[in-house]
């Protein structure tokens, strides 16, 4: 059929002469661990070397070890459920490590590597899944909100927080983590609209792990997810989410823009969910094994190991100490998780309101009376 030339399948105003190739994710490390030059992004990670590289490697290794341990604890009945982040270590560790302590992070439930980098004790991440609390930590101790289970809701919270930073005249940045599935929620789109209109210093970090439970990303988007933000007036970057260096570079570009008054940036980190959606999921019902294998070859840690090897950084001692750190973290985590105390029955009434609430106090009194009654009675 005839279509008008002035019809748009692009949002125009491109700063790139080669938008056609822009769908190729930014990559600094090949799956083989070969560092490729990037005139545009190299400068953003030129300081990342030596011990820093080993620290990144250790973070990713510890997190994977912890993640597997949590899965094991679930199998053993110590956790009700667990959402593994297997395969997404680079996207999460890379982006989280370049944040400042005074930045504030709003995530979904799978961002446990982000929480680790922010300093959340590992066992705290499992409180929710063990059923001892509705969320695991005090957001203000680590400047990271506890996970939003309602898909997409946190993107608006991040945008609002960023609006607060603007009003306070600080250059702190709010970062919203969410998945590919989340991009279909109205809230995520409204967040981009508010962020654009108010030029809010927020980074939208989308981990496109190719799946929303059993639905492939194609159900949510027929074009790269990174294509959406520009139409709202928010520049976007599509980055190889299994390339920790590229993720760090892209995140720094976004943070720098936000701090310097340039507003929001949308990052699509292209990665893969190597595990099940949660421990109660069964990917064999919907996942293509070939695809799984392809992505296994792009493993973010393996890739980084190869890179460190080539740099000669991965000495036996280095390997050993990283392994020791991971084993130790997992061991301490397991013990601490199992030791998490159960909440007191009457705590069910706590913190529903910040101020006294007549209706609730009466209900609490009656339940307290009931508890002592059933203890006392011989029914």
């Amino acid at each position: 059929m005839r279509t008008g030339l002035s019809e748009k399948t692009s949002t125009g105003g491109s700063i790139s002469s080669s938008t056609a190739t822009a769908d190729e994710p930014v990559q600094l490390l090949t799956p083989e661990g070969v560092r490729i030059e990037s005139p545009e992004y190299d400068s953003w990670v030129e300081d990342v070397a030596g011990d820093e590289l080993l620290a990144i490697y250790q973070d990713m290794t510890v997190v994977r070890r912890f993640d597997n341990e949590a899965t094991a604890l679930q199998r053993q009945g110590q956790l009700g459920l667990w959402p593994p982040l297997l395969g997404q270590e680079a996207a999460q560790v890379g982006s989280a490590r370049v944040l400042r302590q005074d930045d504030f992070v709003f995530t979904s439930y799978r961002e446990n590597a982000v929480a680790y980098v922010r300093g959340v004790p590992l066992e705290d991440m499992t409180k929710v899944w063990r059923g001892v609390a509705n969320s695991g930590w005090d957001p203000f101790t680590v400047n990271m909100a506890t996970p939003a289970v309602i898909i997409g809701a946190q993107t608006l919270h991040a945008t609002g927080y960023a609006m607060g930073c603007q009003r306070d005249g600080v250059d702190s940045v709010a970062v919203a983590y969410f998945g590919d599935g989340a991009t279909s929620q109205g809230d995520v789109n409204e967040a981009m609209i508010f962020a654009a209109s108010f030029k809010a210093p927020v980074v939208f970090f989308c981990q496109n792990n190719q799946w929303a439970i059993s639905e492939p990303v194609g159900v949510q988007a027929i074009r790269p997810i990174s294509d959406r933000a520009p139409g709202f007036g928010i520049p976007s970057i599509r980055v190889d989410g299994n390339d920790v260096l590229a993720v760090m570079a892209a995140t720094r570009v976004a943070l720098e823009r936000a701090r310097s008054g340039g507003g929001a940036t949308f990052i699509e980190a292209v990665t893969y969910r190597m595990g099940p959606h949660t421990t109660s999921d069964d990917p064999s019902r919907y996942e293509d094994l070939g695809e799984h294998e392809e992505w296994a070859a792009k493993d973010p840690i393996l890739r980084f190991e190869r890179y460190l090897d080539q740099l000669g950084l991965l000495t036996d001692e280095a390997r050993a100490s990283v392994k020791a750190a991971a084993d130790d973290a997992a061991k301490r985590f397991r013990a601490a998780c199992i030791a998490l105390p159960d909440p007191e029955p009457l705590s069910v009434f706590d913190n529903v309101y910040a101020e006294p609430h007549s209706g609730l106090e009466r209900q609490k009194r009656e339940f307290a009376a009931y508890l002592s009654y059933v203890e006392g009675s011989d029914r």
Partner: protein
């Protein structure tokens, strides 16, 4: 003291809150230059600037969601929902986030949001502009729900709502926006969660809130012609409800009529009747009667006079609890 309309009294309360606490800000659609479709925020943008009186994109979920983020940063956002019927797009953020964040984080996060919702009917408007959704929020643990019925309360309660560290749904009886009253801008208000006996009586307790308090007072006045002494309670707070005040009244009268505009089925009148029955069972002379909107979508303007409880329907219910001739016993020609 100065005489103000209810809408101007809210505006005065907002101005005072903005002046007293620089972490208070207003968000909503058309609240800036226009001053809101009801002019409640008239002049506030010019006085406090666009950073504190924020015209937002047209998205209620976005308004409430970003207000939550601002709360994480220590701000107290007052969100205006333009009309009652437009609050539903924000329902998820209100019910799943605003109401639960404090409990979810074991008290670490406070969400001192205030949501201003012009509500109720009898203003001759079209669909979605005359609803009474308060029961949805009163049933939602974690929220406080209030509704003023007069300018003084409107002024006091909006300030208390904003000052509260809990999220407060502040339902504005839009039909009474233009009713005037003396407002003391300096006195110490009564607690936000207490009800007020606005007229003393001995035969029947008539419980109302928001837009119907005025109608209830008219009904009580009219009842005197029939030799009836009707006590009128203005609930003010819908969650929690001050049942101690209600209980005292019912223990005195033994008869209860509850009125609201929202549909009867599952409305607040049910909770009030059920709790009164539980607490005053042996004192009740008749089953509590509810005079409410029907269990139908809000009707077109030409029918709203039938839908919104009026003086006559309230008196008919009073006759029912008094065991007098009424619409259900049928009319006996004299």
């Amino acid at each position: 003291m100065s005489e103000l309309t209810l809408s101007k009294a809210i505006g005065a309360g907002l101005r005072r809150a903005l002046a007293d606490d620089d972490h208070v800000l207003l968000m909503g659609e058309d609240i800036g230059e226009l001053g809101g479709v009801f002019r409640v925020t008239d002049g506030l943008k010019h006085e406090f600037g666009a950073e504190r009186v924020v015209d937002t994109p047209l998205a209620e979920s976005g308004i409430v969601g970003t207000a939550i983020g601002l709360a994480f940063r220590g701000y107290r956002a007052v969100c205006e929902i333009q009309f009652d019927g437009f609050i539903y797009p924000a329902f998820d953020q209100i019910v799943a986030q605003v109401a639960k964040l404090h409990a979810r984080t074991q008290g670490a996060v406070r969400v001192p949001l205030t949501l201003r919702v012009p509500y109720g009917g009898a203003i001759g408007s079209v669909e979605h502009h005359s609803e009474s959704p308060e029961a949805y929020f009163a049933h939602t643990a974690g929220l406080r729900v209030v509704s003023p019925s007069n300018p003084q309360d409107a002024y006091d309660m909006i300030r208390q709502a904003i000052a509260s560290d809990d999220p407060v749904m502040y339902f504005e009886p839009k039909r009474r926006y233009w009713s005037k009253g003396e407002v003391d801008l300096e006195h110490i208000p009564m607690p936000l969660d207490k009800a007020r006996v606005v007229r003393e009586g001995t035969d029947v307790t008539l419980i109302a809130y928001g837009p119907l308090v005025a109608t209830a007072l008219d009904a009580a006045a009219a009842a005197t012609d029939e030799g009836l002494s009707v006590e009128v309670i203005d609930l003010r707070s819908l969650a929690p409800i001050d049942f101690d005040t209600v209980e005292d009244s019912v223990n005195k009268t033994g008869r209860v009529v509850i009125v609201h505009e929202a549909a009867q089925f599952g409305g607040l009148g049910a909770e009030i009747a059920a709790t009164i029955t539980d607490r005053c069972f042996y004192r009740l002379e008749a089953p509590p009667q509810r005079v409410t909107g029907f269990n139908v979508p809000y009707p077109p303007a030409k029918l709203e006079e039938h839908f919104v409880p009026d003086l006559d329907r309230m008196l008919d219910a009073v006759d029912r609890v008094m065991g007098r001739e009424n619409s259900l016993t049928g009319w006996v020609a004299r």
